[in-house]
């Protein structure tokens, strides 16, 4: 399968420049990056993509087996790196994608110039025995699944072909409000579980590439102590706390976020 269309890859910026690959988290798609791309594409080759099951990725590529763990997504990232053959990339992973970057870099460090972990969390669920606070309980995650269900009533079979890409009439998808965050409810449920129930605390120490942990100053999903934990576990990593609040600094404070990414990537990771 052609991974470019599978992941709806977009490449902008000068060819041959240092490469920045932007990976969106659970919820929306590569549009999440559109406020930081203008600043980055001046100096970098910027690679954007949608995770399989999100945005305009190829829905037929989604299988429960492959995408029931973050390993499947990490495989996709490595396949993208190989297929695009742009040399080592600075991988910017937002939220759950930060851990995809961690898994991919642990497996094939040579594919990466560095990792930017934006609002990362290696484990959202509390682990009192280990003294770890992720911020959520398993019941909270069930509640999120209910919220997803409650907001997918309008999905249904009739909307699916429009939302999941209509090659003959692409404008249909654009016109729909909320379309950036639409996904097949079945897929969204599985992705929500993978996102919020994965535990990658043990994988952090396996990262050997230069890493920047960038957290927000007030983030209901990935609180400061979680960012500090990630920083402490990844050898040689740097931690910055952005002024941005919320869980999506690339939207709330695009200039600051782009500057942090650019400074790190320019230094070669």
């Amino acid at each position: 399968m052609d991974v470019r269309s599978r992941n709806h890859v977009t490449v902008t910026g000068p060819a041959g420049g240092p490469v920045v690959m932007l990976a969106h988290g659970f919820g929306c798609d590569q549009n999440m990056w559109r406020l930081v791309v203008p600043a980055l594409e001046k100096d970098f080759t910027v690679v954007l993509f949608d995770h399989v099951g999100s945005g305009k990725s190829d829905p037929s590529a989604w299988t429960r087996e492959r995408y029931s763990s973050l390993d499947g997504y990490a495989d996709d990232v490595l396949e993208l790196c190989r297929e695009l053959a742009l040399g080592p990339v600075t991988f910017v992973g937002h939220s759950v994608s930060a851990m995809m970057g961690v898994l991919a870099a642990a497996r094939e460090p040579e594919a990466f110039a560095g990792l930017v972990l934006l609002a990362p969390s290696p484990c959202f669920v509390d682990d009192p025995d280990a003294g770890y606070r992720g911020g959520f309980s398993a019941e909270d995650i069930d509640e999120l699944l209910e919220s997803l269900d409650a907001n997918y009533l309008g999905w249904s079979g009739a909307m699916a072909p429009v939302i999941m890409g209509n090659p003959e009439r692409p404008e249909l998808g654009e016109e729909l409000t909320n379309s950036f965050c639409r996904a097949d409810p079945e897929i969204a449920r599985v992705f929500a579980r993978v996102t919020f129930l994965s535990d990658n605390r043990q994988d952090l120490a396996r990262v050997s590439v230069p890493t920047l942990v960038a957290q927000c100053s007030r983030d209901a999903i990935a609180p400061p102590e979680v960012g500090a934990f990630v920083h402490a576990q990844i050898p040689g990593s740097r931690l910055v706390t952005l002024n941005a609040t919320g869980h999506c600094p690339q939207l709330a404070a695009p200039e600051e976020t782009a500057a942090a990414i650019a400074a790190f990537a320019r230094a070669g990771g």
């Binding site: 988290g25 659970f26 919820g27 929306c28 549009n31 999440m32 559109r34 939220s95 959520f136 309980s137 909270d140 995650i141 069930d142 509640e143 999120l144 699944l145 209910e146 919220s147 997803l148 269900d149 409650a150 907001n151 009533l153 409000t177 909320n178 950036f180 965050c181 919020f196 007030r218 209901a220 999903i221 609040t245 919320g246 869980h247 999506c248 939207l251 709330a252």
Partner: protein, 422 residues
């Protein structure tokens, strides 16, 4: 409004309210201050800073939540009012959408009241921008959605039940379909035989069938057929056809006689106002003692003709003209033909799901007999497994254009040299 004023005028002198009174009353209503409208609107109003901090809230929402104004303004963020799951949804969907689109509408969330109770709401937000287009604050309206959510929850539950039932039906159909086909084909000495069954719809049992089984003295019987219709009735007919053919072949293996017996059985079974019929080709395979290979006698009751792909690379239909549908007439005419299957030859039996398939889904064009013959001419010379693989690939290219189930059975006599090599 104009009409009402006119009506009121008529009764004005008889103690009813005059137009002046009515006007005054309207004015009194319209003097309802904007402030009062905001505070006591039948929906919750909330204004927050861009980071979600609550800047203004109306009385309606405070009453719903059981909070005082000072509990919220400047102290809490909008997401603090949500359940934890709702907060996750807010951070991963709602907030990003709002920032990207400038508005989000009709999202179902749950508020957590001061006493811990929950209130389902439908939430809509817009970003208010200044004259320079800079976002300033977020305006949010919240509608009480208790009734609606209860109804939607009921709908969701009903859909889940329906999904479960549909899965159950699919499993049942798949199981039924399997029982109508041999789990594996018998292994015939000196022959390679493969079959493929293409299921057009997982919601209904199709009516195609085939089998291959031993008869006396090294001879073998095979059949492939297609009953009319789909679903449970077709499955019952398929079952009847299969065991009748097996039993009839033991009694007298002459192919025309076997089909004549099936015809009699179907006529007896479905005599009356529910005629049921099928098309079948029945074959008797006898090892040729004079030369290598097999003698094949085929009898057809209204079934598409078999195709012979020869070792020399040629291919042709084996016509069985005049054979009539089995089960319609008391004495159906059954056509037979006999052919020698030499080493390297491959015989293909198929049901019309293949030739009737639309080559482009939704298009009128059907694949047709000529196209199949051309297809087989490019295949020849071939063998059994390559043939069924090729047909399988062909059906895949039609996608949903294959409207009917399709069964194919390929019989091949391996060349002696290849046998030695193997």
């Amino acid at each position: 409004m104009m009409c009402e004023t006119g009506d009121a005028e008529e009764g004005g002198r008889h103690g009813h309210r005059g137009p002046e009174d009515e006007q005054a009353q309207f004015s009194a209503l319209l003097e309802d201050s904007a402030e009062d409208l905001y505070e006591h609107a039948p929906c919750g109003y909330l204004s927050t800073l861009l980071d979600g901090r609550i800047a203004k809230v109306n009385v309606t929402l405070l009453d719903w939540l059981g909070y005082g104004r000072d509990d919220l303004v400047g102290r809490k963020h909008f997401s603090d009012l949500l359940t934890v799951g709702g907060r996750l949804y807010h951070e991963t969907h709602y907030a990003p959408l709002l920032m990207m689109q400038g508005e989000v509408s009709g999202i179902a969330l749950e508020l957590k009241a001061a006493d811990g109770s929950r209130l389902p709401v439908l939430v809509t937000s817009t970003v208010k921008t200044g004259s320079d287009g800079q976002p300033l604050l977020i305006r949010t309206t919240l509608f009480d959605a208790r009734e609606r959510r209860a109804y939607e929850t009921e709908l969701l539950r009903a859909r889940k039940d329906a999904d479960l039932e549909r899965d159950r039906l699919k499993r049942l159909n798949a199981t039924l379909q399997r029982t109508l086909l041999p789990p594996t084909l018998a292994s015939v000495p000196g022959l390679d035989v493969t079959a493929y069954y293409h299921i057009a719809s997982v919601d209904e049992v199709g009516g195609d069938f085939y089998d291959l089984f031993p008869l006396v003295d090294g001879t073998w019987g095979l059949f492939l057929g297609d009953v009319c219709g789909k679903g449970a009735a077709a499955a019952a007919l398929t079952s009847l056809a299969r065991y009748t053919l097996r039993a009839a072949a033991v009694y007298d293996p002459d192919p025309a006689t076997v089909l004549a017996n099936l015809n009699t059985v179907l006529n007896h079974e479905y005599n009356g106002n529910d005629p049921r019929f099928c098309t079948v080709v029945f074959g008797l395979l006898t090892p040729d003692t004079d030369r290598d290979g097999f003698r094949v006698t085929l009898a057809s009751g209204g079934h598409p003709p078999a195709l012979l792909m020869r070792a020399d690379g040629t291919a042709d239909y084996l016509p069985t003209p005049g054979g009539q549908l089995i089960g319609v007439l008391p004495d159906a005419h059954i056509a037979t033909t006999t052919v020698h299957l030499a080493p390297g030859d491959t015989l293909l039996l198929h049901t019309d799901g293949l030739t009737e398939a639309h080559t482009v889904s939704g298009d009128e064009d059907r694949y047709g007999d000529d196209a199949l013959l051309d297809f087989c001419r490019t295949l020849a010379p071939t063998n059994a497994s390559d043939t069924t693989d090729a047909v399988r690939g062909l059906l895949d290219t039609f996608g949903t254009g294959v409207e009917d189930d399709t069964a194919v059975l390929a019989v091949h006599v391996p060349r002696p040299t290849r046998q030695k090599e193997q």
